[in-house]
């Protein structure tokens, strides 16, 4: 039993790598065979993957309930839009700035309640989402353009080439995904990633083993929010127009569902689930009216029959080379 389990976990790790390789191959070949439309679908898929992965740090790695993640996405998108409109700052700089702005927002607003029980944090993040959305609508100081939102004219530039066509965005977004995956991989295998998992498993034990749980939680929240904010910049340049309609509580809920349905803490899970969220509605078009009904039903059934998610989390667990045989 024991050895079996451990072997299985090793096999799943290789399945993870296999998944990523198949995905990479698919993504490289895909654009040569399809129209701009399908490339665009994949651009939004990639954006959702970025968001899902960023939320996964908070929900999956550390086990914090965050059901208001689009708030940080909105902070990022609006920071980029406002600064670009007023000061014409370079988009790459803005991406960094909006990431930082979202990270600060995430930290300042959740730090005081970080130590509370999970459900309170959930409620606070929901409240935060509403506060930010309503504030955007109410157009404080004429900054956010109210319900109409803001126009984003500037675009990313790479060596003078303007990122504009679907394929440009495709490369940009999936390039960011690759970078993020690499960063996550590094973090997961470091003391930070391990600390996150200790906190998720048992926060009291972690604290008593010398881990500053508050630091671990805040760091996860800041990184997750920051990535969502930076993604907001990409979204803003892709859409060219952003409005509060894109940052609703419902969007946060579906993001939350993506993470859990995919398999909490699982990177392939997030990628698969957000892909399914994009493609399934297209395929179910004929059932238009019943679509969301089935969707709700599927969520329930999925949790009953596969509570661990589409592709359950398999961590790259820390192992030591050498030593004696089992």
């Amino acid at each position: 039993m024991k050895t079996e389990r451990s072997r299985m976990s090793r096999m799943s790790v290789s399945a993870n790598s296999a998944f990523l390789m198949v995905l990479a191959a698919f993504l490289i070949v895909f654009p040569f065979f399809v129209s701009d439309y399908w490339i665009d679908v994949c651009v939004f898929w990639g954006i959702n993957v970025l968001l899902g992965l960023s939320l996964n740090i908070i929900v999956g790695e550390v086990g914090l309930f965050n059901m208001g993640h689009t708030a940080f996405y909105a902070v990022g998108a609006y920071t980029a839009a406002i600064l670009s409109q007023r000061f014409g700052i370079n988009m790459w700089v803005l991406m960094l700035l909006s990431g930082v702005a979202a990270a600060i927002a995430g930290n300042v607003l959740t730090a005081p309640i970080m130590h509370l029980r999970g459900d309170y944090l959930l409620m606070v993040t929901v409240g935060l989402n509403e506060i930010i959305r309503i504030t955007l609508i109410n157009n404080p100081f004429g900054l956010t353009g109210g319900p109409n939102g803001l126009i984003v004219l500037d675009q990313f530039r790479v060596f003078g080439r303007v990122i504009q066509s679907p394929i440009d965005f495709y490369v940009l977004v999936w390039g960011c995904v690759a970078l993020l995956l690499f960063a996550l991989f590094r973090l997961q295998r470091s003391r930070i990633g391990r600390a996150w998992n200790y906190v998720r498993e048992d926060a009291v034990a972690a604290e008593s083993t010398g881990i500053n749980t508050r630091w671990a939680k805040s760091l996860a929240f800041m990184i997750g929010a920051g990535i969502a904010g930076a993604t907001g910049t990409i979204y803003a340049t892709k859409m060219m127009v952003i409005s509060p309609d894109s940052f609703t509580f419902a969007a946060s809920v579906s993001l939350f569902a993506i993470v859990i349905l995919g398999g909490t803490g699982s990177i392939p899970g997030v990628i698969l689930a957000s892909g399914a969220m994009m493609v399934l509605p297209e395929l179910m078009r004929d059932f238009a009216q019943y679509r969301m009904l089935f969707f709700g039903l599927a969520m329930v059934l999925m949790m009953i029959f596969r509570p661990q998610g589409l592709w359950p989390s398999t961590r790259w667990s820390t192992r030591v080379k050498g030593g004696d045989a089992e």
Binding site: D119, Y120, L128, E130, V253, T264, L293, G296, P307
Partner: protein, 301 residues
């Protein structure tokens, strides 16, 4: 002063309904540590069931109005309670050992399902309770207008809340609920059937939501399948405000939230009202993490 009093009356009306719905959240949370995101939709279903009964069956029968309303409320309450028990059996019970996140997502799925089911059954457009059903009487007391429906809503809600409180504090079944809320395993050792307790919770909570649904249907007339979401969110906020898991807390939280909303919209700005409500919630949690009446709850060790 007159304006202030009118706002208080309006706030109490809305708050009483929040409190009724919040009770369902708080009881389920207290016993199962589950945020039942579908609870607002039980409330919505209550509105629709009451509407259907009123429109299809009772419109023609020549019974007196109060009896008609009583029957409609009873049927809606019963229907929603059955629905609650069914949902618990199907969507929550199999997940009791699968972790809390799974249950939360399942609840979100149920909510999605119920909303869309209601849309398919009753249509995507707004429906309105028949005008003959809602008593229109209103009085003007020193400039403060008070309608019969408002009094009914406040009165019935308070009665139900006090009744529930007494039930939980004084009866054997209530003791079983309280014991289960503290610890499932200990309760089981004491010979309490935890499953029965949970079923009971899923009868009472949705039933209260169902009654609230009919009352608000009569009060506002307009009903829509999305209404459960916003009321659910507010009621859950109320439950947290008062201290989740705590029955008097849900009442206090609900009433307070209703009054806060009305004063905020009445004196400051309706557009910023929700920002204020959630802002107050966050501040409260910072300074009093367990809500107004919440006791310090031991984190499970």
């Amino acid at each position: 002063m007159v304006f202030f009093l009118s706002q208080m009356v309006n706030g109490l009306t809305v708050g009483a309904v929040y409190a009724l719905i919040a009770l369902g959240y708080t009881m389920v949370y207290g016993v199962m540590r589950l945020i039942n995101f579908a609870h607002g939709d039980f409330f919505m279903m209550g509105s629709y069931l009451g509407y259907t009964v009123l429109v299809t069956f009772l419109a023609a029968v020549g019974l007196p109005l109060w009896l008609v309303l009583l029957i409609a409320t009873a049927i809606a309450t019963l229907g929603v309670a059955l629905l609650g028990v069914f949902v618990e059996r199907v969507a929550y019970r199999p997940l009791r050992r699968s972790g809390r996140l799974a249950a939360v997502v399942s609840a979100l799925g149920v909510s999605q399902f119920l909303q869309n089911a209601a849309m398919l059954i009753w249509g995507a457009r707004f429906q309105a309770y028949p005008p003959w059903a809602a008593p229109d009487a209103a009085w003007n007391i020193g400039g403060v207008s008070v309608s019969l429906m408002q009094l009914l809503i406040i009165g019935i809600s308070l009665m139900l809340m006090v009744g529930l409180y007494l039930f939980v504090q004084r009866t054997t079944a209530g003791t079983a609920i309280r014991a289960t809320a503290i610890d499932h395993d200990t309760a089981r050792l004491m010979g309490i059937n935890v499953n029965s307790v949970i079923t009971l919770i899923f009868i009472i909570g949705p039933a209260l939501g169902g009654i609230a649904g009919v009352l608000l249907g009569l009060y506002y007339r307009q009903i829509h399948f999305t209404v459960g979401w916003s009321y659910g969110l507010k009621a859950f906020t109320a439950a947290i405000l008062g201290g989740i898991g705590n029955i008097p807390g849900a009442m206090v939280g609900g009433l307070l939230l209703g009054i806060l909303e009305m004063l905020g919209a009445g004196y400051i700005s309706a557009a910023w009202k929700d920002v204020m409500v959630f802002g107050i919630l966050i501040l409260l949690l910072i300074f009093r993490p367990t809500g107004i009446l919440g006791e310090r709850v031991a984190e499970k060790v």
